[in-house]
């Protein structure tokens, strides 16, 4: 499908069966909806609220030729690259974060011509998801104009039909699948997010199929008590699975802090052994543990409790320093 084909994108949505009932399923069953060659948009941002449990499930299913899009790509992008699952990556930035420097895996795979990275500005990528969420083929913007990013993803310019000013047009981005992690959902897929919304609500509306993991499955009654907290309605969602610590080792706002020590060990191993270290990491943390619970057991309850305590400390009432 042409990325900006809004007619086809709408037909795909309309062709989906209307299922009013339960969306509740397992992580594995949710991930099975991803097919070889799909474009997956990943929710959250960098190491915040990344759907890591779903990422691991997709990797475990050994899906191939995936296009991955994310506003700021953290090391989940490296996992897809080294696992041989990524055909192309769309992002505005890719690394773990400033202290860990330029990604050696990004360098190896892009400089070697193995996985192309299509770069957009952060806002431009956000507007591409938003255009799709709105059901229109493009949005005009004043960003990216004059830069070398324009030809990379084939953004276009046009004179504004009302004022004559030059505008940048970014095409709608309709992913096949969105994978998201949220704080709470009910069994019908109504989702609530605390803290940063990131781009998740736009991504959910842009994609054809939406897979969600939630820290907690709550009752429909609880959702109805605070409907103002719902950011993705159930009819947008195809599958929802309960996954406490579903972003770990990334953070989930107010619930647990990212595990920077884990990032240090991961990055240190790459420093020493290059992409072999990522292969070893995939074996140990993605392919070996049979379930999400087994994965969490690799870290142990004490470590998880410590990350929870850190998050409470970081978001508690925010009294002045």
């Amino acid at each position: 499908m042409n990325a900006a084909d809004f007619v086809e994108a709408r037909r795909r949505l309309e062709a989906k069966p209307r299922v009013a009932g339960e969306k509740l399923t397992t992580l594995e069953a949710a991930a099975r909806r991803v097919k070889d060659g799909d474009h997956i948009a990943i929710g959250g941002c960098l190491y915040s609220r990344t759907p890591m449990a779903l990422v691991r499930e997709v990797l475990r299913l050994r899906r191939r030729r995936l296009t991955l899009s994310r506003n700021l790509m953290c090391y989940e992008g490296e996992l897809f690259m080294v696992a041989g699952a990524a055909e192309k990556i769309l992002t505005s930035w890719m690394s773990i974060g400033l202290p860990w420097g330029v990604s050696k895996i990004l360098r190896e795979y892009v400089e070697g011509g193995r996985v192309p990275v299509e770069e957009w500005s952060h806002l431009a990528l956000g507007l591409r998801y938003r255009a799709a969420a709105m059901g229109v083929p493009f949005l005009p913007t004043l960003t990216m104009l004059g830069s070398d990013l324009m030809p990379v993803g084939q953004a276009k310019t046009m004179p504004c039909p009302f004022t004559g000013e030059t505008l940048c047009l970014v095409p709608a981005l309709f992913p096949d699948v969105a994978i998201l992690h949220v704080h709470r959902a009910d069994r019908f897929g109504n989702c609530q997010i605390d803290g940063y919304p990131h781009m998740d609500a736009d991504i959910a509306r842009a994609a054809t199929t939406v897979l969600v993991s939630a820290e907690e499955i709550i009752s429909e009654e609880e959702i109805r008590r605070h409907p103002d907290r719902t950011v993705i309605p159930g009819f947008v969602v195809d599958a929802v699975a309960e996954a406490p610590f579903g972003s770990y080792p990334h953070e989930c706002y107010g619930l647990y802090e990212a595990d920077f020590d884990h990032f240090d060990v991961y990055a240190g191993a790459i420093e020493a052994r290059g992409s072999t270290a990522v292969t070893e990491y995939l074996d140990r943390f993605v392919f070996a543990p049979p379930t999400h619970a087994d994965y969490l057991a690799l870290f142990g309850e004490d470590a998880l409790a410590r990350q929870r305590a850190r998050a409470r400390e970081l978001t508690r009432s925010h009294e002045p320093a």
Partner: protein, 256 residues
């Protein structure tokens, strides 16, 4: 305490902070830009509002608790609003944001910055992390302040890839490309402060830091930099400025 006691990162933070006026709104990334913004807030610009691209407006700073990314929990400290990333940038597109800080691996004579690739885009010699919000900040904020170490390999005739457009080919080419708003107002480096000729938009030396000569700057610049007859000397960082920075970053995570 003299300038000799300031690290390069401290020097950039102090000089950057001094360019922010009270009452303004600054789009700040993490690291030195955030330190510069908070320093401004705690000295001459107490009414400065901080906006961070991860989706925070009005954050404050807890000493010793510096965020690593623009969208993690500690970045939200005492913010007045958390919002989506796209909408955060749209405040800049609408014209609400006065200042932005950015950097890059390379900058050229017309203030264009590269944080994408050294060498050709498709098969680069070095793939860098990419634009992130840098392109949006330089395209949409009213004024952009570039912070970077002054090294000859970074100050090049023409950047390999224009991630963030400064004045493009100079003259009115930025305007002609459709960038109706915004400008690069200053390039703050470890050697001095640079601006741009008003008509050609070629980079011009405005001031050197104490102990630095214009010749030192030329030696570390890979293009024909305009050096006017009168080059000012910046005031060295004060004891108070350095103390504030060191209280904010006691582990010297970003101050070096």
């Amino acid at each position: 305490m003299s300038r000799r006691d300031a690290t390069p990162a401290e020097l950039l933070a102090v000089m950057g902070a001094r360019l922010l006026k009270d009452g303004g709104r600054v789009f700040a990334g993490v690291g030195v830009p955030l330190l510069a913004s908070v320093l401004a807030q705690r000295t001459r610009a107490p009414g400065l509002t901080l906006v961070i691209e991860g989706g925070i407006i009005g954050r404050q700073m807890k000493p010793g608790q510096l965020p690593i990314s623009t969208n993690e929990m500690r970045t939200a400290y005492r913010g007045t609003m958390l919002l989506g990333i796209t909408d955060t940038f749209l405040f800049a597109q609408r014209g609400f944001l006065d200042y932005g800080f950015i950097g890059g691996a390379q900058i050229d004579r017309h203030g264009n910055l590269n944080s994408t690739a050294i060498g050709p885009y498709d098969r680069p010699r070095v793939r860098l992390p990419g634009s992130g919000g840098a392109n949006d900040i330089i395209s949409l904020c009213r004024e952009v302040i570039v912070l970077m170490p002054h090294e000859r390999r970074r100050f090049v005739e023409r950047v390999d890839f224009v991630t963030s457009p400064g004045y493009l080919d100079g003259g009115d080419s930025r305007l002609k490309a459709g960038l109706r708003f915004g400008r690069v107002s200053a390039v703050v480096t470890t050697l001095g402060i640079l601006g741009f000729d008003e008509s050609t938009k070629a980079m011009r030396l405005e001031a050197v830091h104490p102990g630095v000569t214009p010749e030192d700057v030329l030696k570390q610049t890979g293009f024909d930099l305009i050096v006017p007859e009168r080059v000012e000397t910046t005031e060295p960082p004060t004891v108070q400025e350095l103390e504030i920075l060191r209280t904010l970053d006691p582990e010297r995570r970003f101050l070096g």
